[in-house]
Symmetry: D2
Subunit: 353 residues, 4 copies
């Protein structure tokens, strides 16, 4: 009998679900005891139910686990210490809210509720303190709680923005993303649409970047989060890359930085004291890696930096208050499941579980 | 008022449906008067209902046509001269049979029924005479008829095999296909599965090649088709190519051919006298194009040969009774809609419509 | 004996060279009489010397032409009416200058000299009047002249910027490009570097966009071109797309535009009166095509708009003085050879040849 | 001072060179002391000289090593215990022979000399005993020796063929390969040729498969290798995949195998006793992995099996004496550098170094 925390994954067969399973099935603190998927997969062994596509192998034993159907009462009755949700946005809200009412604690990658005032939207090294918003959820009458993983592009972006915002204040961000197909899930981007092509539109993505980045970089006053006030302009595109979102970013600061070297140092040395002290297993040594080669970062070469949890910055230049840089991160690790696991680790260490 | 034949397309929004629409909307003999799709698309203009992905533009006026739902009675009542079906295999059989009962004449790209004894499976330059099987369908009590377009890989393969079989007899065919993603339809191959990858399996494809190639190259004795007796061994794979199936083919002949030059001449000069005489608009001048460059055919460079209706053969060599060659054809033109239109043209000229 | 103008292509075997050959070998005004390439290819028939990769076929007769070596005196002695240069940048300057001294008139796609004060950098529908700079070249003692085709990304960009600059004045442009591999020439981007990847750097490209766009949109006062004064910030990336550069563009205007509809109309109705009057064969009917579908333009679907000579704008939105849009054009047609041919046509109609 | 064997890599900056460096810089028995490349790179630090593209990181210290030029006398003077050659075929023969004359022991991935009677062509688990051919090289007057790594496709193929040949005898092999672009080296396949495409020709590859597979599976009688007598027919193609060669294989056996299960067991349990006993660090636990999922092996999912040293077999079926199977292996690991390192380990354990 393990004394690890008992956890489960909802929506375990999709790409983000696979990442959750890969990382939780070998986790030092968590014991993955339940994998949940849609009704047509319930009853199958996980091995039969999943079409494995990610380049990370789970513990073999989890492959033999029976897949359970997503039944709210059954899940609530299992008394998991923590549940990770990779449910599709279309069905997530209702299920997660009903589970929270019944006492389930949930770290969710689904987009609904992310902007609610009492729902923390956590990128741990950026805004771990926002997690205290969980207390406010009691007013909803929930016995459990819901913490949200940010949108993938936004998680990657805000990690690179935080050190700049902290030091000089950001007044405007212009960002153009080139996003990997895995970000749309297994069936999101049919291959006849994307080979030898780019699609310059991802539904809802630009709004998410605009709104979520302000919330994540907002100030928590102990009661509510005051969104940061900088302007964000975004174009998001889909490119024929498997994993790794690249973002071309133009940041206008409120103050002129001392020098380019200063900016590089701010990024490279960036860390969050609390996260470091807590020694969370999924936290990368260096949240932000700066590369000085002229042609980096590249998705294929840099997406696995920090085991997929670091973002890599390159082609950085400073001109007055304007900073140009290319930011890259792994969309289903730092931008989804890896970040979710890190939030779970944080919640555990803060005695929220 | 046009004096063209009135035709319709069922399943008009998929990739093969788009090809049918592109070629029929500008056809000299056919007037495309109906585009039919699933219930959720019915009522929309075709422009709104379709996600256009092929590199061939239809006549603009068809884009404004209202999409109709696939209702058997409504279709039958329209009294089209000919209906082209690009319905999914899962639903095609019942719909097509019910339509045939009600008097509708159908050229169908769907796989069900292809191997039925009284259903002609037509690759026009190869086995136009099999179309007389249509007469046998009266015994089913059908007022209309159904003619079938062969499987994509098989249509391409049999066009290259016919001249060899005719001259020397084939005893065995070993074929390995590298098939384009468009062959699986719009959503058949999700991009996260195929970028930087090959999938060495296509459900049902190898069986289709084995069985259909024998039927197509079989002998019609005026009553039934006696399948050719050669053995076929096939491996089929999916590759990250948009359009164009490539096939590496090893053919064992019954007799030793005179020379490599003779084989090249057989292929290049191959034609079907009847088809030539009928002057069908979709028939390519040269059904088989032989290229002598050492690195051809290639999908991107050769798939549009003969406006997508020719197959291209290259890397041909002869060693005793064994012929090695690479065969390439456009899977949604020669392998589907283009072939379907050609069958329609043939049926018209033979007074079957 | 043709009464067409006698023309030649230097660097005829590369990707841009192939486009020049494809378009000039079937041109109503020009007769392609010479194809020139490096010494190792001289003496071969063009068919043997070229590795054809573009999706446009030249006239078959040109394939049999003997390739000539690039010998300055020999070329000068041929007295071509016009010479098109697709020479590599590394060797172009010296050869082109020596030819101009000897009386040769050259439209060149090579980057050297583009920013020289007396060298016109022409995007015909944008700044046809700059071509009068050719007169100033007499001061160099040249008997011939050199006109330059702009950088590919810049040609595409400035065509979309011109109507905005003309109507409201541009104060700043921020652009992120996603450029096709053909832009680097046949061997510029090795496949192991770009499959499942993006390279966020193209040598010299960002500087070219910054400087050339100001020159092209500059004011010609009859003597010199005063570069436009707007600021340009650019990131350029290479993506796994064969043809078609996509650009995500943020334009800050000097004045607030009346409405989004007004901007769309400005773009769609944009034309240059002089170019229209001259009826140049390569000029597209609509230099700028605006698409209102939410997911267009896309390289594979829109690169051939206007036979590759139109740029397509989509996802346009206006917020105060800020305009966001996605711009797409064919990099080796509008961005290179097609533009070069159009410049040649312009020069002919203006009696400069 | 390390007591490891001192080794060097010639041609250290190419793709195979990078694999050698990655695996030797962290090797338990070998100390990588020299990295050699062409004259234009000599003098640079390895970090500056190499364009790193593989997904495996070398020890960081090797990145600071000075690159040496390939000077025969200088290399000979270094008295390395073993030298690994990833030189291009065009220059390898002369350099390797001159080094061998001067006493250097070489494991070479270059194709020249592979078919010479006294040169062992080693795929360790298949034909380790052939390494005794090295003794015969003394007759050439060489103080050192040369052992050759097989062609990439052949190394992968013969590992899967060996257990079948051993048990039942092979009479004929028909193979169609789908080869990754990394097999042609960094610049071998320009991206404009391979995106959305397949090239059905690789220079010299088919001959190599035919001849080398017979030599590798040949019998060593203590003096010479008698090539196996089976017939091999091969088509080789290049596909848009980064790493991992897939091979569709049809094997005709001399005897009818007992059952499909027997064949699977033969493959799965295959090992070479000697190799197992020697406990070579690069030898995979299971040289051949059999997968029973209907759609495996796939390059992206299976190329790293056994740390890139196993081949994966799938879609196996038996029909009389005919076996069909898909074989996949990592072309630059099992098919090149990984195999080379394994040969080096073997030579060391057999006291040949």
């Amino acid at each position: 009998m393990s004394d690890k925390l008992r956890v489960a994954v909802l929506g375990a067969t999709g790409i983000v679900g696979q990442r959750f399973v890969a990382r939780l099935s070998k986790h030092p603190w968590f014991e993955l005891e339940g994998v949940y998927a849609s009704y047509d997969k319930a009853g199958l062994r996980y091995r039969e139910a999943v079409k494995w596509v990610i380049n990370e192998a789970p513990d073999e034993s989890i492959m033999e686990t029976r897949v359970e159907k997503i039944d709210i009462d059954l899940i609530a009755r299992e008394n998991y210490d923590l549940v990770f949700s990779a449910l599709p946005s279309t069905i997530a809200e209702n299920i997660e809210v009903e589970l929270a009412k019944r006492g389930v604690k949930i770290v969710s990658n689904a987009s609904p509720l992310r902007l609610e005032q009492d729902i923390p939207l956590i990128n741990p090294e950026v805004n771990a303190d926002h997690i205290k918003l969980l207390n406010a959820q009691k007013k909803r009458g929930w016995k459990g709680w819901i913490a949200k993983v940010p949108n993938c592009s936004t998680a990657i972006l805000t990690l690179a923005l935080k050190p700049l915002h902290q030091a000089y204040g950001i007044s405007r961000v212009i960002v153009v993303t080139m996003q990997a197909v895995s970000g749309a899930g297994l069936k999101g981007v049919p291959s006849p649409l994307i080979i030898d092509n780019i699609i310059p539109y991802i539904k809802g993505e630009e709004e998410k970047i605009v709104q979520e980045s302000r919330k994540i970089l907002g100030l928590f006053n102990g009661r509510i989060v005051m969104p940061a006030s900088f302007e964000v302009l975004a174009f998001t595109t889909r490119v024929p890359v498997i994993d790794g979102h690249m973002e071309a970013v133009f940041v206008e600061l409120e103050e002129t930085p001392r020098s380019e070297e200063d900016i590089i140092e701010l990024l490279e040395r960036y860390h969050d004291n609390k996260i470091e002290t807590l020694r969370l297993p999924s936290a990368p040594k260096r949240p932000v890696v700066v590369r000085e080669e002229v042609d980096r970062p590249q998705p294929r070469l840099d997406r696995m930096a920090g085991n997929g949890m670091s973002v890599t910055v390159g082609r950085l230049s400073v001109n007055g208050k304007m900073i140009k840089m290319i930011v890259l991160g792994h969309n289903t690790i730092r931008g989804a499941a890896g970040n979710g696991v890190l939030i779970g680790e944080l919640a555990y260490k803060l005695n929220l579980i």
